[in-house]
Symmetry: C2
Subunit: 291 residues, 2 copies
């Protein structure tokens, strides 16, 4: 596949949340023309105040002259796109998305646009919305594309150039492999972490009436609890969308997780401290491989 | 109970790891005499180089003149203390510990020393050993004491003064309540987090031969995975000791956790997205209560 060594603007952004807004800032800083389509007039106004794009509009015609369009939409809107958005995408433009689940997006969009490339920049903060975008969000982070057999090589090269322009590390893989991987390292942690919050609350509340345990767990929780529950206490809509759009892989990951936890529980119940320490030692050695 | 408004030195520290070393630095900065007993000559040498205490020795007689002795030992050594340590503790000194499990420590030590106070400063970093101690580790952190009916009020007041001298927030509770609380917010997270590392590795490895999933999960894991697995990838000896010394409460916490996770799994399998979002919303609201 030939590399273009860069991409020619103007770039269209559909959505100016954390991902769209951050892309907008990076691209403008490098002199690219950015035209953005947003849903609400109020969002458009705030985006203009933040100078997130040269043009911000709620009318899809703003995308007319764009050669590359990034669909920076939540998964549900990406999977059920408004007809007027699809109609407004220039037929010659390369179109990509930023969704965190790839197989259903690819399945849907390969039928909607001839130059679609499914991709997923793996970057984020706890923030969302039109105020969330910030420069350099993608620097050093993976940007995964999941081409299908009919994905156009030149379109893929354009998206790669976009990713590399904002400092991301490009890689490609199969869409199903991507979805299984993010189920294990991104979607499963949300549920595992959420259940810890529920267990701490319910476990404390289940004590005898008058017990000070509900207050005690809240006072004593420290940085370990804070870290382990961060993703579980995050955006509920986002967590639900991920589970919904990646249901099968998440269910499989959960089932595998349950088996791993039960193994540790068995060691505890059997008072097999050498066995438990061996497993925790394995975890201690494993973790750096993921960082 | 009368507050002393401070405590009179000299202070004896048994162990100069993260907790002992940090206490040593804070106490010396405030002009207190600190005498430390350590296990190995090499540790004593490094502690002297770091000026962690006025006197550092491997002979328990170093504690002879101390009016307050802090047993900053790992749980296993605390529960099976060397006879020469017990013999060397001045009968008139107040003796406290820093163990993260309280009922077994209290049970053991109330028989070993008349002025023992069970306590637990809830502070930590990922570091351990004689190089780990640092100033201000306890500032703003809870320091929990778990007095028994026969704990001497004046001894408790001395330990409170120690805790407040290093800036900790003093509280007292029942030893069993403490142990159930830390099972939920400190020991359970270690196992939940460890199982996530095992599940990510096993889930990826279980794919068909030649799959790039094992590599993919490692490359794509981001800050969410890093945070959620931090305590599970920590010190294996420490994690095992906690589970071993708080086995019953940890087993109960694990069983409650399993139920919470299965509830989330059922919502996923039933495709009950409103239900899942409601539970994740509950987690989102719960988490700030713990921080």
């Amino acid at each position: 596949m030939a590399r273009t060594g860069g991409f020619a603007g103007p770039v269209g952004l559909v959505g100016l949340g954390l991902i769209g807004g951050s892309l907008a800032l990076d691209l403008q800083r490098q002199g690219h023309q950015v035209h953005a389509l947003v849903h609400r007039p109020g969002t458009a106004e705030r985006a203009r105040q933040r100078r997130l794009a040269q043009t911000v509009d709620t009318d899809a015609s703003v995308l007319a002259g764009c050669r590359l369009v990034v669909l920076a939409l939540p998964l549900d809107r990406l999977l059920e796109p408004p007809a007027e958005l699809v109609a407004a995408l220039p037929a010659r433009a390369v179109v990509t998305d930023v969704g965190s689940v790839k197989a259903p997006v690819l399945e849907r969009w390969r039928r909607l646009h001839p130059r679609f490339v499914a991709s997923h920049p793996m970057a984020g903060t706890a923030d969302a919305g039109v105020e969330a975008g910030r420069p350099d969000l993608f620097r050093g982070r993976p940007w995964v594309a999941t081409p299908a057999v009919d994905t156009e090589p030149a379109a893929l090269a354009e998206v790669r150039a976009l990713a590399e322009t904002v400092g991301a590390c490009w890689l490609t893989c199969d869409a199903e492999a991507h979805d299984r991987a993010v189920a294990l390292i991104s979607h499963l942690p949300v549920l595992v972490s959420a259940a810890l919050l529920l267990a701490a609350e319910r476990g404390a509340a289940a004590e005898a009436p008058g017990s000070d345990l509900p207050q005690l767990v809240r006072v004593l929780a420290s940085s370990g609890f804070a870290d382990t529950t961060r993703v579980g206490g995050g955006n509920p809509e986002l967590g639900t969308l991920m589970a919904r759009c990646n249901r099968q892989a998440v269910a499989k990951a959960l089932s595998g997780y349950r088996a791993c936890l039960e193994d540790l529980e068995q060691l505890l119940l059997a008072a097999d401290w050498d066995g438990l320490e061996a497993e925790l030692g394995r975890c201690h050695r494993l973790r750096p491989e993921f960082l």
